[in-house]
């Protein structure tokens, strides 16, 4: 039984949510959790109030389930910092739609989780509140930008957590930490109350100990929201039953995702998963996604351009930190506030975004990237039109890397998302699930589905979960 289903059964059977709240508070206060630096806000009192609310509610699909929320998703009762000094002291006057839906379903908000500042990063080293440590090796990163949420699930502090994806910020840390990470189709889950980074890419996404755990949360979060005009009116995905066989399904293996320089351990773990898919009855077929190598450069034009626009609102006028500028004028206030409030990676991305949108460079960079984005999306459309039901790839080219290893070279850091970016640009659903270990570190495999085909994808993942031991060492 999944962790989520087990908690809900306990609560429905008479176990008080206060008991669960106290247990979660003990885990959050434990030295091991403190050392992860994965939380930005939590308290036993908040958890107690959450439990009281659940006790007063009718039973729901997530009754009593504690959940951590990435701190770029707004909540009225805890601060929302986006791990940035520029939002010091900010407490949102409204809840995100995702948070409201979780509460309506009976979930308890357990903690706000650390992240790369404004979700910009692949290692959770770019937080103004210090880096998050990998739960299995403190010298390493948990991935990012949702590293705090991933670490809390991997350390078994909470069974599920919300993160957000712009270019792979849930799938990549899920792979590094050995948990499940599900990114829904763009438009499946409301973005209302998710602090905007790249609006054409941002998706609230889910970490779970198992696929079933994540599927239960996805089902609650899904659905049209009048407060987000990009949500699509279609039925929420079911929590699928575990299929006994994958006979009749065709799974494509994109050759561009298995390059010669792929980490041998990552290759070995995912080749074992591929054999398991075949043994379950799936037909496997090589496919090509020829514009894959252009996904990261495309992403690093479009996402910073959207970020430069979205982050213009942080100016010290209406909320957050204010730094008076030299000379005392309004523009001096803006520049000093933004210069001091944003960290180096956010400043870098705003500058790149401003540059690619500026007169003389707009067509060469932004228009070009928009056209390449179309080609990347068409690669996927062609693959699925050729009779392939799902795609399977490694989630990341390497296991978790060491802290500090990539911070001096922004491009090296950006390439950590090389297998996740293209899916985000195409707006498709995808997920990472653990497929093995390399020298004790987790490795993930990625399933990619056509738009709004989450249920089928989750079913394939459940079958694969049953067929492999993700803690088994993969030998190249």
């Amino acid at each position: 039984m999944s962790r989520v289903a087990s908690i809900v059964a306990d609560v429905n059977g008479g176990v008080s949510p206060q008991t669960t709240a106290r247990e979660v508070a003990q885990r959050l206060a434990a030295d091991e959790t403190e050392r992860l630096n994965a939380t930005l806000a939590w308290s036993p009192e908040w958890l107690g109030r959450e439990a009281e609310r659940v006790e007063a509610q009718s039973p729901g699909p997530l009754s009593g389930v504690p959940i951590a929320i990435k701190d770029n998703i707004v909540t009225t009762e805890q601060p929302t910092t986006c791990a940035s000094r520029i939002l010091d002291g900010y407490v949102s006057p409204f809840d995100a739609t995702a948070v409201a839906r979780l509460r309506n379903a009976g979930a308890m908000i357990a903690a706000k989780a650390n992240l790369d500042e404004f979700a910009m990063g692949s290692s959770t080293e770019h937080s103004a509140y210090g880096r998050v440590h990998h739960p299995m090796d403190s010298e390493r990163v948990p991935g990012g930008s949702s590293g705090g949420s991933a670490a809390l699930v991997a350390a078994d502090v909470v069974p599920v957590a919300l993160g957000s994806e712009t270019g792979g910020s849930v799938r990549q840390p899920a792979s590094f930490c050995g948990v499940v990470g599900v990114k829904p189709t763009y438009g499946r889950v409301s973005r209302y109350g998710l602090v905007a980074f790249g609006s054409s890419l941002d998706c609230i996404s889910i970490f779970g100990r198992t696929t079933d755990d994540a599927a239960r949360v996805l089902s609650v979060l899904s659905g049209v929201d009048p407060l987000d005009a990009t949500t699509v009116d279609c039925a929420p995905p079911d929590v699928p039953a575990r299929p006994p066989t994958l006979r009749g399904l065709t799974i494509g293996l994109p050759e561009e995702y298995f390059p010669d320089d792929l980490d041998p351990g990552v290759r070995a773990a995912n080749e074992r998963a591929i054999r398991a898919l075949r043994d379950l009855g799936a037909e496997l077929r090589p496919v090509s996604l020829p514009h894959t190598r252009f996904a990261v450069p495309t992403y690093y034009v479009i996402a910073p351009a959207e970020a430069a626009s979205n982050l213009a609102r942080y100016d010290g006028a209406r909320y957050g930190r204010r730094v008076p500028g030299e000379g005392g004028g309004l523009r001096a206030l803006y520049r000093a506030t933004r210069g001091a409030g944003f960290g180096p990676e956010v400043r870098r991305r705003i500058l790149i975004g401003t540059y690619v949108l500026s007169a003389g460079y707009y067509d060469a960079y932004y228009t070009k990237a928009q056209r390449v984005r179309v080609l990347i999306a068409e690669d996927f459309q062609r693959a699925f039109a050729s009779g392939v039901d799902y795609l399977f790839t490694p989630t990341t080219p390497t296991p978790a890397f060491k802290a500090g290893e990539k911070t001096q070279d922004p491009v090296a850091m950006y390439l950590a998302d090389i297998f996740t970016c293209a899916v985000s640009l195409a707006g498709l659903p995808a997920m990472s699930l653990p497929t093995g270990r390399v020298e004790g570190l987790p490795v993930g495999g990625q399933l990619i589905a056509p738009a709004f085909e989450e249920s089928g994808m989750l079913g394939v993942a459940m079958a694969l979960e049953d067929a492999i031991d993700p803690t088994e060492e993969a030998r190249p």
Partner: protein, 99 residues
């Protein structure tokens, strides 16, 4: 692709961001490195025209144009650095300050 220090300062002005003292050289190097990498896109042949890719619904769902205030858990004056009589206070914009 080479971006000069003067260009970086100009972009920073457009973005309303002060670059901390001593960081200009590093920021310039990083922007040059990123733009050199992004220039990889020049290897792709793309059509001269075409619609941009749109994820999500074909068109955004429009709501009735009516005022439907969202209930706020905290009034805006609690969030604002300075707020008086219904207005956010900011320093004076001195004449037609250069952008």
């Amino acid at each position: 692709m080479k971006i000069s220090r003067d260009e970086v300062l100009h972009i920073a002005k457009l973005a309303e961001i002060e670059i901390p003292p001593g960081e200009l050289e590093r920021v310039t190097e990083d922007l040059c490195r990123i733009c050199d990498y992004v220039d990889l896109l020049n290897e792709v042949s793309t059509p001269a025209e075409g619609q941009p890719f749109l994820a999500g619904p074909g068109r955004a769902a429009l709501r009735e144009d009516v005022i439907d205030p969202v209930a706020l858990a905290h009034p805006v004056e609690e969030l604002a650095p300075e707020f008086v009589a219904g207005f956010f206070l900011v320093p004076k914009l001195d004449g037609m300050e250069e952008g």
